[in-house]
């Protein structure tokens, strides 16, 4: 026998958000099919860091992994956040083409 609590957990829709973020990354970073996108969420206790952050990895065989961090939980990530990351990444690569 079980009893339902009317104050049941609110949905954060993590699976859908995960798929959305991956699609945004692929689109805004203009990635080809050779690069895999992976998204995770980690807690960090460093001073100045948020409690939890979203970590995005761009993984291409034969190349170093590219890791980007967004200082907010995965559920709060918006397309604009990913667009900003992509712009910073492009600027960094333009400044250092050997990177």
């Amino acid at each position: 026998m079980t009893f339902n609590n009317p104050l049941a957990p609110k949905a954060r829709a993590i699976p859908q958000k995960l798929r959305e973020i991956k699609a945004w990354v692929r689109d805004l970073f203009e990635l080809d099919d050779d690069t895999a996108v992976t998204v995770s969420e980690l807690a960090c206790r460093d001073e100045g860091c948020p409690d939890i952050e979203t970590v995005i990895g761009l993984l291409t065989a034969g190349h170093p992994s590219e890791v980007h961090r967004l200082h907010k939980p995965l559920a709060d990530v918006e397309r604009d956040d990913v667009a900003a990351l992509a712009m910073v990444s492009r600027l960094a690569k333009a400044a250092d083409p050997h990177d």
Binding site: M1, T2, F3, N4, N5, L7, A8, P9, K10, A11, R12, A13, I14, P15, L18, A36, V37, T38, S40, E41, L42, A43, C44, R45, D46, C49, D51, I52, E53, V55, G57, L59, S65, V67, P73, L74
Partner: protein, 380 residues
């Protein structure tokens, strides 16, 4: 007993048993230990927080060796899998390494399997002895609460994605009205892990023996997400991309700061009415902040009779009478895993209610619930 390798030169197969909080990992493991696993099985039970109770909830017999660890295995500062397994080998005695046929590692319900699987894949070739080899990942999925867990916690998705065997639990609690959400859960499992074998714990043909049989665990077969998460773990470990911030400090936990564990204890038996008043108040007030509660209690009305108690998110299961106390520790003790909930008022509520002798509960509860409270032992 599964057919297991007996060649002493073969690495000892290790099954990883994972699944979100309250999804039935410990119950499944208990069943397996009672019915299909032999005495030459080693068990590591990892619990979130600093107080372990699962070892008292697992009914072990026939001489299996069990090691309980606290501190989440997936956390950087947490326990080391290989160290725990080695302790089991040592505890088995001089010929333990030769006799051991299987190890089972049960993670916490909040464990991210990526770092744990990475640890297990990286077991070094043994300098001497057999060493260990990951031989399967079993994930329990609560058919009633899993969709909510998946919606709220990335760990729940990862646990399913890494599995080569998913065991659906509590399907006996589903009603016809739950059919749509159950179908949605199956769709989500398939989306996360298209090739995983899905077993229904309550199906007539459920093969517990097969689920706990070691097999080759093929990471590549689990799909791109799993490969990506494992690669990301590797990339993050020595993150030197940020000067002065070489690796993020996950401290004692890689989980959000708000998730914590604490224990409430009573040296004397609780009054039945007082305890149910506590549970009822808890259920109505804690809401989604209470992720998991489990423990052992006894009542003044039956001081020698222990009960196990479980609550998973919004689902409170009725206390179950146990045959006997599992250890010499006769204290009533409840372990809580909460997110963003201050333990202090909960502790005060516990202390204020559980020894009450008043009839508060009977005066406010529906008749049916009141009957359940009075006859919990009979209805297990």
């Amino acid at each position: 007993m599964p057919s297991l390798p007996t060649d002493p030169l073969e690495p000892i197969p290790v099954l990883l048993l994972t699944g979100f909080l309250g999804s039935g990992k410990t119950t499944l493991l208990s069943d397996a230990l009672r019915s299909v696993l032999g005495p030459d099985t080693g068990v590591v039970i990892n619990e979130f927080g600093t107080v372990a109770v699962d070892h008292d909830l697992v009914q072990v017999g026939r001489g299996e060796v069990m090691q309980t660890t606290t501190g989440c295995l997936c956390c950087h500062a947490g326990s080391d899998v290989e160290e725990s397994l080695t302790k089991i080998v040592e505890a088995m005695g001089p010929d333990g390494e030769r006799r051991l046929k299987l190890m089972v590692v049960e993670t916490t319900g909040l464990a991210d399997p990526a770092p744990v699987v990475n640890q297990m894949r990286a077991f070094p070739p043994p300098a001497e002895g057999r060493g260990f080899q990951l031989a399967g990942v079993i994930t329990t999925v609560d058919a009633v609460t899993a969709l909510a867990s998946l919606d709220g916690y990335l760990e729940a998705s990862k646990q399913i994605a890494f599995a080569d065997a998913v065991v659906l639990t509590k399907t006996d609690l589903l009603s016809e009205a739950d059919r749509e959400s159950f179908d949605a859960l199956i769709d989500e499992i398939r989306a996360l892990n298209p090739t995983v074998a899905v077993h229904d714990r309550h199906a007539d043909d459920f093969d517990l023996h097969g689920v706990f049989s070691p097999r080759g665990y093929d990471v590549a077969a689990r799909g791109q997400d799993v490969l990506g998460w494992l690669a990301l773990e590797d990339a993050l470990a020595p993150d030197k991309s940020k000067p002065g911030h070489a690796a993020h400090n996950t401290g004692d936990s890689r989980h959000a700061n708000g998730v914590q564990s604490f224990v409430l204890t009573s040296d004397t038996p609780l009054t039945r009415d007082g305890f149910y008043r506590f549970l009822r108040t808890l259920q109505l007030s804690a809401g989604p902040k209470l992720l998991r509660m489990k423990g052992l209690v006894s009542f003044t009305e039956e001081p020698g009779q222990p009960y196990s108690v479980h609550q998973v998110q919004h689902l409170l299961s009725m206390p179950k009478a146990l045959g006997e106390w599992p250890s010499t520790d006769r204290r009533s003790r409840l372990v809580f895993i909460v997110e963003g909930l201050d333990p202090k008022p909960l502790r005060e509520l516990f202390e204020a209610t559980v020894h009450d002798t008043g009839s508060f509960f009977d005066s406010i509860m529906p008749e049916r619930f009141g009957k359940w409270l009075k006859s919990g032992k009979d209805r297990t």
